[in-house]
Amino acid sequence: MPEGKLCNKQTVDTEEQLQALLDDKSGKQYYEEMNYLDVDSDALWATMQKTLKSRLKTWLKICAHCGMCADSCFFYLANKKDPEQVPSYKIISTLGELVKRKGQVDNAFMQTVMDTAWSKCTCCNRCGMYCPFGIDMGIMFSYTRGLCFSQGFVPWELKIGSGMHRIYRAQMNVTTEDWVDTCEWMAEEYEEDWPGLKIPVDVQNADIIYTVNAREPKHYPEDLAEAAILFHLAGENWTVPSEGWEETSLAMFAGDWGACKMQVETVYDAMTRLNAKRMVVTECGHAYRATVLEGPYWAGRKDGQTPIPTFHYVEWVAEALRTGKIKIDPDKKIKEPVTYQDSCNYIRNAGLKDVAREIMGYIAEDFREMKPNKEHNFCCGGGGGLNGIGRYREQRNIGLKVKRDQILETGCKLVIAPCHNCWDAIRDLEEEFRIGIRWSFLKPLLIHMAVVPDHLKPPEE
């Protein structure tokens, strides 16, 4: 059987295909079919010849095999320094072999590549900072994932995820209608406490267009309400688009570059359609990475920029605190020791380390850094889509140990994690190891601490 019914080289573009995949609980049949999936070596090699250019070729060629990348990788550390977790080894034995064998590999090899690319690397890019040549396995594994995807060797959840983007332009089946309804519902729900609260949809020429992670409307609608409350408190002229509101990209984790392009284009369309001054993204790391950092390239924007200036939520928060749009009640500042999870995606890969510290200065009395921190922080352990892949749950849980120990070392019981993936990983870490910590996004903390001006308070009974 060259192509499976569920596991094949096709992209998921229809609801029927998607439903069939969803019906296959935990991807049992999917992975069974994968064992018989043919490798189209010629297509694989043709793709590599077209896309593997001097940067990656040079990396593969000049790697000194010096091992300086070893200790940079949290997987290596978490797996008791297993040499097979050395970043250089991981790439040489996968992408390196694919190149050497000119794509002439078999099914079993492709499965090894897949397992390595998704369960031994979260594309956190930390190793690239420790290699004397700047060889970045995060980039190379992301590339390798693209090759795997094109051959149908992709974890079940991510095949579904990329299909979601193709069909709904969101990582989950949230339609335009669902989204707009959720906005209305949340505004109504909280209006009593916050008179005048609105979630304005499709308003032209606003100062801010706000975009989210589909999990928020789907599973945590309060997050959307909290964002609205904070914009309301700050007196912002803001809006959300009815279409193009989803910033995340499971397609990026899947290596489905076609879906990546489709997804970000809807957001860019919304930016131009509504003609807002700037965009603010919710507290999500990979969403920012996908839509702001990588997206312009998928969409073919030569200046590498989004159509309007874009800001991560932490940038907006820092600005609101700096300019006094939001004031913190000194009595309500966080008194207990608190630490901050620097997300790879917007700290290491987008330079926002100082912004995060600025916020902590306003809201925390005893802020403690993890070690290492800022752009040198370790991945939470759940990045690159790993959090969501059942097949690799065990490997993911082992990887969490590094973050667990980093947190324990700070002595803090509260971890601020303004990134959905980090937030999830830290929640799972607590579930797995029971170290007695709490974790939070910024929004609920800020609402609790903010001074509410009299005119925004609900009328006295």
Binding site: K53, I62, H65, G67, K302, D303, G351, L352, K374, E375
Partner: protein, 225 residues
């Protein structure tokens, strides 16, 4: 024999070396692709250049980066090896005599004692590098015979040079071997992994531009290498 290896063969070596290194650099730049690399090199050249220079600069300084500081033992070996490897040949008295004879100019020469010291530094560093390769599982697993070959090509001119200078055994034999191994070394630079001679700068510049342009360089003071 001497005339041949220092004449036509030497010229051939220099030609291969210079053309090879130049070709590598051109090939590298031509192979960069803003969309595949996802770095808008051209529109943000000033950020890119700043990022590239920072990325090269810090890595050239001993203990200048987090990684160099994290591996102090290896860092010392590395710098001892490379400083010896790259600088010694230019300041050897014998080399400068040759330069004067053939091209009518010469550089400053170090004393014979210093030359011996530098040579031994390269060799000792190389021995430590080999021992480390074998001792550490994380390095052993990625080591191939090719790595040893390349290392041997790099240190051979130093071993033979030392033997020739101290006239151990047959001077002429060692002299010719020294010249040949030196030529092999130069030819190997563009043709083997030793292309990191230029590749280091190219690759560091690229990742520096990546961080300088796309990954935060426009919103921060720059990555702390």
């Amino acid at each position: 024999m001497y005339a041949f290896v220092t004449g036509p063969l030497a010229w051939l070596t220099f030609i291969i070396f210079f053309c090879g290194v130049t070709y590598r650099a051109i090939w590298y730049f031509r192979g960069l692709n803003w969309q595949l690399d996802r770095v808008a090199y051209k529109p943000h050249m000033s950020y890119g250049i700043k990022g590239a220079l920072r990325s090269i600069f810090f890595w050239l300084i001993p203990f200048g980066t987090h990684s160099w500081r994290f591996y102090p033992f290896f860092t010392i070996c590395f710098f001892a090896f490379h400083i010896g490897l790259l600088f010694t040949p230019f300041f050897i008295y014998g080399h400068n005599v040759l330069l004067q004879e053939r091209f009518g100019f010469s550089l400053w020469s170090m004393s014979d004692g210093a030359a011996d010291f530098m040579t031994c530094m390269v060799l000792v560093a190389a021995i430590f590098i080999i021992m480390r390769r074998n001792a550490l599982p994380e390095v052993r697993i990625i080591t191939t015979p090719y790595d040893y070959l390349v290392l041997a090509i790099a240190v051979a001119p130093f071993v033979t040079g030392l033997l020739a200078r101290h006239q151990v055994g047959n001077y002429n034999f060692w002299l010719i071997t020294h010249i040949l191994s030196g030529e092999l070394f130069l030819v190997a630079i563009p043709l083997t992994k030793l292309s990191h001679f230029i590749g280091f700068f190219l690759s560091r510049a690229q990742i520096g531009m990546d961080y300088g342009i796309k990954r935060g360089g426009m919103k921060s003071k720059g990555l702390s290498w």
